[in-house]
C-alpha cells in the first residue's frame, strides 16, 4: 500500500498509509486463490468470511464485499487499521508459505473506507449494506421479538468490547445502556491509539452507528462509584463488564515519580483525549522535552514514541530490555518507527532516574542486558550484565511497560472473582462468578487486542441472549 514519506508524516497527526485505489485493491484481491478450506478464516478471531469478501473485491463489487465483512465484524474500518493481521489471518494464508500473503488487512480497510466515502451518512450506509439483513449470529437464533421488548441490559465501558456487545444485543432487540466513565466514548480507540494510526472520525462513526441501533450511551458514569454492579442488576436483566486494562504499570525504580516521567496512559490521554497538541486552545498541557525516552517494546511504546516526534521532540529513544525479535509491537509499526527516526536501544533496562536542580528528570541510568534461557513466555529471558551501568541524558520519560485490568469494578464488587493479576474470571461464554454478569476484553485478558475484545463482546452478547431468551 502507498504510504506518506517519513519526513512528511512526522510533522502532523494524519494517517501514514494512503490506502489502495480500487484498481490496486482488485489486483491484490485477485491474488487470493480461493482455497476450499480457507485457513485464513480460522486465524480471524471473529471468523470473517475472508475468501468470500475477497471474491467480491476481485469482482469489483465493493458493496457486497462490505456486506460480507459486516456479517461478523461491525468495525472493519478499525480492524483493517489496527489488527495484528501478521499474527492472525495473514499468518495462515497459504500464499505466505512461499511468498507474500494476501494483504487481507489492507483490503478490509479499503472496503470499509470505500463504503464510508461512497455514502454520506452512517444510517443510509448501514441501511444499504449489511446491517438490517440478519447477521450470521442472528440467523442462527430463532427468537420471538416481543419477548425482548423492554428487556434492559447494562454495559460497562465503551471500548471495542462494550461497543460490540451493546451493538449485537441491540440488533437482537434488547434495550441497551452503556455506562462510560470518561467524557468521550471509544475506550483505548479514542484515548490510546493516536490519530495517525486510527482517525477519531472513524471511531466516532462506529460509535454513532451503535447509537443508531438504539443503544443509549451515558458518559461521565463511573460504575462502582455511581452505581455498583449490584445496583445495576436491580434495574437491568444482565450486565456486561468491558472496563478494559487501564491501570498503568510502573517499574517502581528510584526517580520514577520525578516531574517529566509519564505513564504512557497519561501521556497519550493528554494528547489524544484532551487534545493537548492544540494547547492552549485546549487547556490541558503536555510538556515534551527535546530528548524523550520511551520504556517498552509494545504498540503502546511505539505510539508514545511516534507521538513525541510529532510533538516536536528532537530525539526519541526506545529503551527495551530484550531485542527487536521479542518486541510485542506490530512489525509494521516498528518498521514505521524506525523509518521515522526513532532510536532503538535494545538490551537496555532503566534502573534509576536522576533529576536536575528543579526536580525535573534529566538522566536515565540504565544497565546493559543480555539474553539468557527462555522464560515461561518462551522468549529468552533478559539478564543484567553486572557493572554495565550507563547514563542517558533525557528530559522526558514515558513508561510504556504495560497495563493491568482496571481494578475499580472488581474492588467495588465483592463477589466478582478475579485472577491474582487482576483479570476477571469468566467461563468460555463470558460469564463471571455472578449470575447475569458477563465480562470480556482487556478486563478479562489483560492488555490484549481490539479484535479479541470485540470477539469477547460478541460471545457475551450471544450468551446473554440465550441466558435471557427462554425465560425472558
Amino acid at each position: 500500500m502507498r504510504e506518506r514519506s517519513a519526513a512528511e508524516r512526522i510533522r502532523d497527526f494524519q494517517e501514514v498509509p494512503l490506502g489502495y485505489t480500487p484498481e490496486q485493491a482488485i489486483e491484490e484481491a485477485k491474488r487470493c486463490i480461493q482455497c476450499k478450506n480457507p485457513k485464513c478464516v480460522g486465524g480471524c478471531p471473529v471468523e470473517i468470511d475472508i475468501t468470500g469478501f475477497l471474491k467480491f473485491v476481485a469482482e469489483g463489487d465493493f458493496a457486497s464485499a462490505a456486506e460480507k465483512i459486516k456479517e461478523t465484524n461491525a468495525l472493519p474500518a478499525i480492524c483493517g487499521r489496527v489488527c495484528p493481521q501478521e499474527d492472525q489471518c495473514e499468518k495462515e494464508c497459504i500464499l505466505g508459505v512461499k511468498g507474500e500473503p494476501v494483504a487481507i488487512g489492507s483490503l478490509e480497510r479499503f472496503v470499509a473506507d470505500w463504503e464510508r466515502e461512497s455514502s454520506p451518512r452512517p444510517s443510509t450506509r448501514y441501511a444499504r449494506s449489511g446491517h438490517p439483513s440478519p447477521s450470521k449470529m442472528e440467523r442462527g437464533m430463532n427468537f420471538d421479538d416481543s419477548r425482548k421488548k423492554g428487556v434492559r441490559i447494562a454495559v460497562v465501558g465503551s471500548g471495542p468490547a462494550g461497543l460490540t456487545c451493546a451493538g449485537d444485543l441491540a440488533r437482537l432487540g434488547y434495550q441497551v445502556t452503556i455506562f462510560e466513565s470518561l467524557h468521550v466514548t471509544g475506550g483505548v480507540l479514542t484515548y490510546g491509539i493516536p490519530e495517525f494510526r486510527l482517525p477519531k472520525a472513524i471511531v466516532n462513526l462506529e460509535v454513532e452507528y451503535v447509537k443508531s441501533l438504539g443503544v443509549e450511551i451515558k458518559t461521565d458514569m463511573l460504575v462502582g462509584n455511581v452505581y455498583t454492579i449490584e445496583e445495576l442488576l436491580k434495574e437491568y436483566k444482565a450486565v456486561f463488564i468491558g472496563s478494559g486494562a487501564g491501570l498503568p504499570k510502573f517499574m517502581n525504580i528510584p526517580g520514577e515519580n520525578l516531574d517529566g516521567v509519564y505513564s504512557a496512559n497519561e501521556y497519550l490521554f493528554r494528547v489524544n483525549m484532551m487534545k493537548a497538541w492544540q494547547f492552549p486552545e485546549y487547556l490541558t498541557p503536555v510538556k515534551i522535552g527535546k530528548r524523550v525516552a520511551v520504556v517498552g517494546g509494545g504498540n503502546v511504546a511505539m505510539d508514545s514514541a511516534r507521538v513525541s516526534l510529532r510533538l516536536g521532540a528532537e530525539e526519541v529513544t526506545i529503551l527495551y530490555r530484550r531485542t527487536h525479535d521479542e518486541m510485542p509491537a506490530r512489525k509494521e509499526e516498528i518498521e514505521r518507527a524506525v523509518e521515522e527516526g526513532i532510536v532503538f536501544k535494545i538490551l537496555t533496562l532503566p534502573i534509576k532516574y536522576h533529576a536536575n536542580n528543579e526536580g525535573w528528570v534529566s538522566e536515565a541510568e540504565c544497565i546493559q542486558m543480555e539474553l539468557g534461557e527462555p522464560d515461561s513466555s518462551g522468549r529468552r529471558r533478559p539478564v543484567e550484565i553486572p557493572n554495565s551501568n550507563f547514563k542517558i541524558p533525557i528530559d522526558t520519560v514515558i513508561v510504556a511497560i504495560g497495563n493491568s485490568p482496571n481494578p475499580l469494578v472488581p474492588h467495588r464488587t465483592p463477589n466478582l472473582k478475579t485472577e491474582k493479576w487482576g483479570g476477571v474470571i469468566v467461563t468460555a461464554a463470558g460469564l463471571t462468578s455472578i449470575p447475569g454478569v458477563y465480562a470480556g476484553g482487556d478486563i478479562v485478558r489483560g492488555a490484549a487486542t481490539v479484535i479479541s475484545a470485540m470477539g469477547d463482546g460478541k460471545v457475551a452478547a450471544k450468551a446473554i441472549h440465550s441466558f435471557l431468551g427462554p425465560t425472558k
Binding site: 515519580n257 490521554f269 487547556l283 475499580l408
Partner: protein, 278 residues
C-alpha cells in the same frame, strides 16, 4: 444535565456553585470529589463535593480561581450547564466514633472539611474545628462551621479575625492544654498539612490529610496523581485522596504540583483574552 442552580461568591476569589447532578448527590459521601470539565476544551479538574442534597438532587462545589479552567468555570452563570461532571470519586472519609476529633481547614480547604465535620459530629464525636486564612476577607464557612462543630477556632495570618498566626499554632496550644485528641484531620495547602503533621507526629496523634495532587482522568488510569505514602506509590484518585499524614512524602508532592506551573500561565492568559473579548 449539570445545570447550575445557584452561584455565590464567598469572597473575591472563591465561588460556590450548586449544580444539578442527582446521580452524584445520591451516591456522594463525605470525602468524595468530582471531576469538573466546565467546557469541552477545558481540563479535567478535581473538586471536593462540599455538600450533597439527595432530595433536590444537587451537589455543591467550591473553588478558588487559580488558573484557566477554574476561570472558565467561574465564567458560567446560573442556568448554564457544566459540560461534564464525574463523580463521586475517591474513597470516602472513614466516619466513626473516635472521641475527640480536631478538623483543620486552611484556605479553600475550609470548604472541604465541612462535610466531614457534619458527619463526625452526628457520629457522636466532639469536633473541634480550626480554620485559617490569610485575612478576614478570605475566611469562608465560618457561620456553617460554628453551627456544625462543637467548638470553632479561627486564625488569620494578619490577625484581622481570630488569633493572629497559623492553624498549627492553635493546634499546638490545644495539645498543650491537655485536650485528649483521638484524631486530627487536616485539609489545605501542602505546607499547612505538613506542619500539622509535624506537630501531631511529636505527640503520636493519628492524622489524616486530604491530598490535592494533579489529576487527569481521576479513575485510576493515568497515574499523574501518584503520591508516595509509607514508601509506596499510591494513586490518590482511587486510593485516596485521604492518607495517613505521617506517612506522606510532602516534598515529592510539592515538586509534582509545580510540574505545569509555567505552561499553565499561558493557558490562563489565553482564557483571560477570550473572556474579555467575549
Amino acid at each position: 444535565m449539570f445545570k447550575i442552580i445557584k452561584k455565590e461568591k464567598l469572597n473575591e476569589s472563591v465561588t460556590r456553585l450548586i449544580v444539578e447532578a442527582p446521580h452524584i448527590a445520591r451516591a456522594a459521601r463525605p470525602g468524595n470529589f468530582v471531576v469538573v470539565i466546565p467546557a469541552e476544551n477545558a481540563e479535567r479538574i478535581p473538586l471536593t463535593i462540599a455538600d450533597a442534597d439527595k432530595e433536590r438532587g444537587t451537589i455543591s462545589i467550591i473553588f478558588q480561581i487559580v488558573g484557566a479552567t477554574t476561570r472558565v468555570l467561574d465564567s458560567l452563570k446560573v442556568g448554564d450547564e457544566i459540560a461534564h461532571l464525574l463523580g463521586p470519586l475517591g474513597v470516602p472519609s472513614h466516619i466513626a466514633k473516635y472521641g475527640t476529633v480536631v478538623v483543620i481547614g486552611g484556605g479553600v480547604g475550609i470548604a472541604e472539611i465541612y462535610p466531614a465535620v457534619k458527619a463526625l459530629k452526628s457520629a457522636g464525636n466532639k469536633v473541634i474545628a480550626i480554620i485559617g486564612a490569610r485575612c478576614k476577607d478570605l475566611l469562608i464557612f465560618e457561620k456553617e462551621l460554628r453551627t456544625e462543630s462543637s467548638e470553632l477556632k479561627i486564625t488569620t495570618d494578619d490577625g484581622t479575625c481570630g488569633r493572629k498566626g497559623f492553624v498549627s499554632d492553635e493546634l499546638k496550644d490545644l495539645i498543650a492544654s491537655g485536650e485528649k485528641i483521638d484524631l486530627v484531620i487536616a485539609v489545605g495547602p501542602v505546607p499547612m498539612m505538613k506542619v500539622c503533621c509535624d506537630v501531631t507526629k511529636a505527640h503520636n496523634i493519628r492524622t489524616v490529610v486530604s491530598l490535592n495532587p494533579l489529576i487527569l482522568d481521576a479513575t485510576g488510569m493515568c497515574g499523574i496523581c501518584r503520591v508516595t505514602v509509607g514508601g509506596k506509590t499510591k494513586f490518590a484518585c482511587v486510593e485516596g485522596p485521604e492518607f495517613d499524614g505521617h506517612e506522606v512524602d510532602f516534598k515529592e508532592l510539592t515538586e509534582r504540583l509545580k510540574a505545569y506551573k509555567d505552561v499553565e500561565k499561558r493557558a490562563d492568559e489565553h482564557v483571560c483574552r477570550l473572556l474579555s473579548n467575549g
